[in-house]
């Protein structure tokens, strides 16, 4: 009989015990799997969010950071200069501010929104039109400012394409109150970076300037988005922009992700490390204790096998297989269980204010499945070491005698 068959018989001899042990490993393994997904989930999801916008380089004012942005002066001329670089395919200016949106005659429905001004008619991926049209190329004098509103805002304020909407910008730090600007909804879209507690509204740069009380336009932008040419790539484009204008900061998407990883996301990474370590220690204790107790209960059986000529190696292989069965089956069950648990935990964490609705804390990755398997395998082997040592050093005659006398 092979070591596997013997281990199988031992495990199935007491199904209740085996089920409980496997259940314990499965639950702990699911938690471990979740923590592994959490360790990189935010990064992957954030990277994905950045990439969907189609721009791979971000240009910011020197004083700010990707998190706290300071308006960039002379942005249109900067965009023009950047656009002329051979390594650059497309350039867009982005400006954001806080505003109050209210349908005319329904002041009670007023809500605070994030107003986005952009030189792009539609930022594919950043906002996608689901109803109506994109922002027009040009707005004739006297026409209302065109807006694309988020589906959430449209639902809340019962807006349809063509509906009028008044926007009043809250100038940060200013004591003055700007008059509300008459606008018209041209489209309704989904905004990638919109959080659960936020409403987004996009308009043209001219519309944005008008809302801020500067109908002739502003020369500032919070951000210059750059799409590098496929031949050059973001690194080369970034270097070219930095060489062109040393007074600005240039970040590729990878660098932005790195910055967020070092600051904003580090808490979840560390929490995941701490909990992964605890769950591994717990799994180790669980399997080691169960196997040790199992060996202690079967000392006579082990001694008899040894007396029959079973070598120590065979006994060790048997215990190792037993451990592998418990951890292997439990670990396999942990994957679907962990998947369900990840959905629940992700839903909890995404309720955090300011988190974009499309950002996920738990993202499935094949590498993490492999790491999960490797960690559980190592745990199973380590957990089997002590019971193997116990079984291997067993004095055969004394144990058999004790077993018979008892």
């Amino acid at each position: 009989m092979s070591a596997w068959s013997l281990a199988w018989r031992t495990v199935t001899h007491n199904p209740a015990r085996a089920c409980l042990a496997i259940g314990g490993v499965a639950v702990i393994g699911a938690l471990l799997f979740n923590m592994l997904l959490l360790s990189r989930g935010l990064l992957l999801s954030f990277r994905d969010l950045l990439d969907t916008a189609g721009y791979d380089v971000r240009v910011l004012a020197n004083e700010g950071s990707p998190i706290h942005r300071v308006p960039l002066a002379g942005a249109p001329s900067l965009a023009e200069e950047i656009g002329r670089l051979p390594s650059v395919r497309r350039v867009a200016l982005i400006r954001t501010d806080s505003a109050v949106a209210m349908p005319p005659g329904r002041d009670g429905d007023a809500v605070i929104v994030t107003l986005i001004g952009s030189t792009e008619r539609q930022l594919g991926g950043a906002w996608d039109i689901v109803k109506g049209a994109t922002l027009p190329d040009e707005v004739r004098p006297g026409e209302p400012v065109p807006l694309v509103v988020s589906t959430k805002l449209a639902a809340r304020q019962r807006l349809e394409p063509g509906a009028p909407l008044r926007i009043r910008v809250n100038l940060g730090g200013g004591a003055s109150v700007l008059p509300a600007l008459d606008c018209r909804v041209v489209g309704i879209g989904t905004f990638t970076f919109e959080s659960a507690d936020d409403y987004s509204v996009a308009t043209t740069m001219q519309g944005f300037a008008a809302a801020r009380g500067a109908p002739k336009g502003e020369d500032e932008a919070d951000l210059v988005l750059v799409a590098s040419s496929p031949e050059a790539g973001p690194e080369a484009a970034g270097k070219a922009i930095a060489a062109l204008r040393p007074d600005v900061r240039v970040y590729s998407n990878a660098q932005v992700v790195e910055q967020f990883n070092a600051r904003a996301f580090s808490y979840f990474r560390q929490i995941s490390t701490v909990l992964s370590t605890i769950t591994l220690a717990f799994a180790f204790l669980l399997v080691a204790t169960l196997l040790t107790m199992s060996v202690n209960q079967r000392l006579g059986e082990v001694a008899a096998l040894r007396a029959l000529g079973f070598p120590r190696r065979r006994i060790a292989a048997n215990l190792l297989c037993e451990s592998a069965l418990l951890v292997g089956v439990g670990g396999l069950a942990a994957l679907p269980l962990g998947g369900v648990l990840a959905i629940v935990l992700d839903r909890i964490l995404r309720a955090m204010p300011g988190v974009p609705e499309r950002l996920h804390f738990f993202v499935f990755e094949m590498d993490m499945v492999l790491l999960h398997a490797a960690l559980l395998t190592a745990t199973g082997i380590l957990a089997a070491l002590y019971p193997i040592w116990l079984a291997a050093r067993l004095p055969i005659a004394a144990t058999l005698r004790k077993e018979i006398v008892s």
Binding site: R17, G23, G24, A30, E63, S98, G173, M293, M352
Partner: protein
Amino acid sequence: MFRSLPARAALATVSLIVALVAAVAAASSSPAQLPEILLSRQLAEQAAVRPGDTVTIAAEADGAGARQFRVAGIYEPTPDPVRFTSRRIEARLHLPDLLAITATPGDPSSTESVRAINVKLADPAQADAFATAVTARFPGVISRLTARAQDGSDPFAVLERFHLAVAIVTVIGSTAFLLALMVMRAEERREIVGIVRLIGVSQRFVLLVVLAEGLLIAAAGAIFGVLVAKGAEDGVNRFFQWRYDTTLVFVRVTARIALQSIALAVPLGVLAGLVGSWTLLRRDIVSLVRR
């Protein structure tokens, strides 16, 4: 406590507390006459500045409009759980001094502008009514309570729910572990229970013994767990405080949490013991003593 913001996206610059990511450089002229400034410990360490030193501060990166200040003291920033991952490079100065640095030349209103006004109400119960009144009287001004939102939407309530969910999963895993152990332990004592039953000890008495034993083990385990947590508390806090250079307390094992853990662990332990033993007690005596 109350906070009125002209814009929701206003930066975290609040009344006299000013976060200036500005050039701080040691200088050496007429310190006695200079206005005073307080620097955060992190900024003082980074700039190698001590109380009594003179520093130059400008709101612009190119140093335009720079002014000199005398460092009156170094302070430890109030730990802020929302910003614990960022370095607290901050300075506090008198509001007129700040406005003098940040004001736009030719714009008189810029010397009268602040990002936020903190208000302490005489009657905190009137906070909602006050917020409504401010919003109605000053369109564009947003009033926000400084107290935690009660609807469970603030980041700490979300983190609390996350930790609770993780704790529940851990408890489920532990219970399975405990049950497996108790089943094995009961199995180990199969013969003893059989003999005890054979000499006339009632099933109820054996169950009571198991119950008492389970209670003792569970209580001892729960207390040990609380002691381990209490022992690890300092280590965890020290690690994270070192990692993020903050005085924020990350883990606190309070009496309430300890009691909650014991209240959860003891019944679970006893239950696991009972379930494990029940598999033996429901069997007939002969099957227990059979080898």
